[in-house]
């Protein structure tokens, strides 16, 4: 068996963060925190950059649309895994929501520069693996995986 794989299983690094819906004052705090953890762990710049982008978009969507949510970060030697779970209205048509330019953002959100309908599309293109499921009136679940081609040890 590949020793790097063993190592990754031994050194699971897990973190969890809460996000409050509607609070644009703190929007981006969780992503900034996650980025600094990944940097401090010595992960490659490209992995940090992609993780920050997908995390930010998911965080802003919770602030914009949901009541509250949680971000779970798991770092292994080979991957950064970001799970984002929220309680909120859910997404009735995921395929439509994934389309570039589709947005239900209200005027207040648009005035701040959000609501271009690009967030989910960006998450999809910057993740190596992206899963999204949603239940109307319950919430939305995202899972993004960013591969670390350099297999960072000593996390």
């Amino acid at each position: 068996m590949n020793p790097a794989v063993n190592k990754s299983e031994d050194t699971l690094n897990k973190y969890s963060f809460n996000i409050e819906g509607g609070n644009f004052n703190d929007a981006g705090t969780v992503s900034t925190r996650i980025k600094s953890i990944l940097k401090q762990k010595g992960l490659p710049n490209d992995v940090v950059r992609k993780s920050a982008i997908v995390c930010y978009e998911a965080e802003i969507n919770i602030v914009s649309y949901a009541r509250k949510g949680t971000v779970n970060l798991t770092i292994t030697a080979e991957t950064v895994e970001i799970e984002v779970i929220d309680e909120g209205p859910g997404i009735p048509d995921i395929e439509q929501a994934m389309e570039q330019g589709y947005s239900t953002a209200n005027q207040q959100i648009r005035e701040m520069g959000f609501g271009a309908g690009m967030g989910l599309h960006n998450i999809n293109s910057y993740s190596d693996k992206f899963d999204i499921t949603s239940e109307v009136n319950k919430g939305t679940f995202l899972k993004m995986i960013i591969n670390n081609p350099q297999s960072t040890k000593d996390l």
């Binding site: 004052n25 981006g28 930010y56 978009e57 520069g113 271009a116 967030g119 960006n122």
Partner: protein
Amino acid sequence: MDIGTIAKELNLKVISASDKMKNIVTGGYTGDLLSDVMANSHEGDIWITRQVHQNIVAIATLKEHAGIILVNSCEPAKNTLEKAIAEKVPILVSDLPVFELTGKIYNLLAAAK
């Protein structure tokens, strides 16, 4: 080229992080749609925008921009300024419209290469 040189050449008003004028500008990005800037701008860019909401500071921090320039003499919101000072993100203000300012900065950066 550092951000201080751009500020001087183009008569920009520095309103936060004046101790960061040595930040090196390696490129630029112009945009008001935050998801676009998030996805397509690069580390070391100077970001030209007319958004004044505090979310611009989080984006500039996450993307490690050299700084932010607000166009058309836009003033940042009060909490934007507070956040920029705390996070040491330089915000500068230009009285030029976005097209002209972008062109001038593009030329400055191209000439410096």
